[in-house]
């Protein structure tokens, strides 16, 4: 407590000749409490009856009063107390004081078992929640396909703009970068075998089939998945979701569905844009490393890939979009009262969405391989 006025924080303790007559001068407050406890504890802890003279005590706050109450309880006689100090002492003395309850931590081994069990239980409930949520969302989508009028077009188009159009620059940039990385690596690996012209094939195939859509999905999971979770989470925290429910409006219908449909429309388009930009990055790499003119490059691309590769890549996009949207919205709706839980659920949404996108992509690779497409 440096900036306090020094006069108010000073406490002087005078001990009488007998050793059991103590006089306090100055102020007994939160700043002088530790000092007072140390000196008085020694003096008064000897089991003799003692007297404490408080005539000159100028200031007393609640911690000080609590300490004096404790002394009084031990049989120390308090003399010459001022009226306002007595009022404070009476107030504190009447309180029913109990120590704060302690949280007794479990032993290490038990904690480990508990965490394991809790983790398994959480995962199980998580899986059930996802299945339920997917079911509800799917039935709503099916329903809205039957009754297209129930779709909120304005809301959907806003989400397409937010998740799609606004993400164009960053997605395009990432796609160019990724194809440059792939291009460089392939040239370096293929040159010793004299096969560097196959770089074009490698870039084109990997961008169209895998990288374009995967990079886009991961970016959108980080960008829009977190936004969904946070937006819906804050609405949940401020009871806006409850307000919707009371008005007889299904929160799934107005909050989840437009986001989901918007993302399912936006992500394939974004992925297509990423494919184009990826091929553009490939042409840059070919020009600088292989001296391949853009027209020649395009001809090469045409020979190495066809529409089917593009389709295989893009066919994954709506599924990724569905997963990202579902996870984001679901975690948003799981937010409870505190600001902390918004952060927690947002983090979980992003991590889980990216994880699932990559797992699904791996499964697709195996599936397409087995099907021979």
């Amino acid at each position: 407590m440096s900036p306090q006025s020094p006069a108010s924080s000073s406490l002087k303790i005078d001990v009488g000749e007998e050793g059991n007559q103590v006089t306090l001068h100055g102020s007994l407050d939160i700043r002088s409490l530790v000092e007072a406890k140390e000196s008085l504890g020694q003096l008064l802890g000897k089991g003799k009856s003692a007297t404490l003279d408080l005539t000159d005590l100028s200031g007393l706050d609640t911690p000080g009063a609590l300490f004096l109450c404790g002394l009084r309880g031990k049989g120390v006689v308090l003399n010459g107390m001022r009226a306002e100090h007595k009022a404070l002492l009476d107030l504190i003395g009447e309180l029913e004081l109990k120590p704060l309850p302690k949280l007794i931590p479990a032993s290490r081994a038990r904690q480990l078992v508990m965490r394991l069990g809790k983790g398994a239980d959480d995962t199980w409930h998580d899986a059930l929640d996802i299945v339920t949520f997917i079911g509800r969302a799917a039935s709503l989508i099916g329903n809205s396909l039957l009754h297209p009028r129930s779709l909120r077009v304005a809301s959907i188009s806003r989400h397409i703009a937010e998740t799609g159009i606004e993400a164009l620059p960053i997605v395009g940039l990432m796609a160019v970068m990724i194809s440059i990385v792939i291009g460089y690596q392939s040239v370096a690996q293929l040159r010793p075998f004299g096969g560097e012209e196959f770089t074009v094939n490698l870039v084109a195939v990997s961008v169209l089939r895998e990288m374009g859509v995967l990079i886009t999905a991961i970016l959108v999971a980080g960008r829009s998945g977190s936004a969904f979770a946070a937006e819906i989470g804050v609405m949940k925290m401020r009871e806006e979701i409850d307000a919707l429910e009371v008005m007889g409006i299904d929160s799934m219908q107005v909050l989840v569905l437009p986001r989901l449909i918007g993302l399912i429309i936006a992500l394939p388009l974004l992925a297509f844009f990423a494919d184009i930009m990826g091929l553009f990055g490939g042409s840059m790499i070919s020009l600088s490393l292989l001296d391949l003119a853009p027209l020649q490059y395009l001809e090469r691309v045409q020979r190495s890939v066809d529409g089917w590769d593009l389709f295989v890549g893009l066919s994954k996009a709506p599924i990724f979009a569905f997963v990202i949207g579902i996870i984001g919205c679901m975690h948003g709706l799981r937010v409870t009262g505190s600001a902390e839980s918004v952060g927690q659920e947002t983090t979980r949404a992003v991590v889980k969405a990216i994880f699932l996108v990559i797992v699904l992509d791996a499964l697709f690779s195996i599936l397409f391989e087995q099907l021979g497409i």
Partner: protein, 268 residues
């Protein structure tokens, strides 16, 4: 409370010629307010009359467009953070408890930041503040989201009291509470004022609070302020004050306040 009239010496809080403006809209036009040590002063005013803005100005969260606020004789913007924390405690309208900390941790935060007390001592003081605010010690381990409205106000009050401030600012301490809990809060404020000698500034709409526990009332209307005791204000001709103190809700509150005051005089 008339028997314990504030000592009209040096004011502990002095606001001088405060002007607050938002664009062209003037909320406060050169208003002045003196708060004396040990009194309970209520600030009333219609919605939009600038009660919250005045409160923010008084506690130094808002720099007024003109005028100055003196706290304990010093300009409020010249007071260091630690000293300010020891001088004023604020109960915000929604409590403003930190939702990621337990109630006990909320109360302990200012103690930990501004004192060198050992943890055991901090815990004992926290338990005392909880009891002082009328909460069970077991409430200490709960989180703000688990508390009811009345408990949030009490917990926030306990936190505002953490460093034994000399002035307590209460923003709508009884809003959103049922009448029984609200009277409990009123009684608590009075008890703290008596026992701790803390000066209390209450911003409120609650007529019962104004009539029952406030020594003086400051009424904000039309950008000006009128500060006086209830008895004098009751004779005021100012239309808004008349409406406030003689309206249909005021009659009932006054009736209740009279009985409450009698009861207080009888017991204390």
């Amino acid at each position: 409370m008339s028997d314990r009239a504030p000592s009209h010496g040096k004011p502990i809080l002095l606001a001088r010629d405060i002007v607050n403006r938002f664009g062209k809209q003037v909320v406060h036009d050169k208003i002045s307010l003196e708060v004396f040590s040990g009194e309970i002063i209520g600030i009333a005013g219609g919605s939009g009359s600038g009660k919250s803005v005045l409160l923010k100005t008084l506690i130094g969260l808002r720099q007024p467009n003109a005028g100055e606020v003196l706290l304990d004789g010093k300009r409020i913007d010249a007071i260091g953070p630690a000293e300010k924390a020891a001088l004023i405690g604020v109960l915000f309208q929604q409590g403003a408890l930190f939702s990621s900390l337990s109630v006990a941790q909320n109360i302990m935060l200012p103690l930990r930041e501004h004192t060198d007390l050992p943890p055991e001592e901090q815990k004992a003081i926290t338990a005392m503040k909880l009891a002082l605010a009328g909460l069970q010690a077991a409430t200490g381990i709960k989180f703000p989201s688990e508390l009811s409205g009345g408990m949030i106000k009490r917990a926030a009050l306990a936190r505002a009291l953490a460093l034994d401030p000399r002035i307590l600012f209460l923003d709508e301490p009884t809003s959103g509470l049922d009448p029984i809990i609200a009277s409990g809060i009123d009684a608590l404020i009075q008890q703290l004022n008596h026992g701790l000698g803390v000066t209390v500034v209450i911003v409120t709409h609650d007529l019962t609070t104004l009539f029952t526990i406030c020594d003086r009332i400051a009424v904000l209307a039309d950008g000006t302020i009128t500060v006086d005791t209830l008895d004098n204000l009751l004779r005021s001709k100012q239309p808004w004050i008349h409406e406030l103190l003689h309206g249909p809700r005021a009659e009932g509150a006054r009736l209740g306040a009279t009985t409450a005051r009698k009861r207080n005089h009888g017991s204390g």
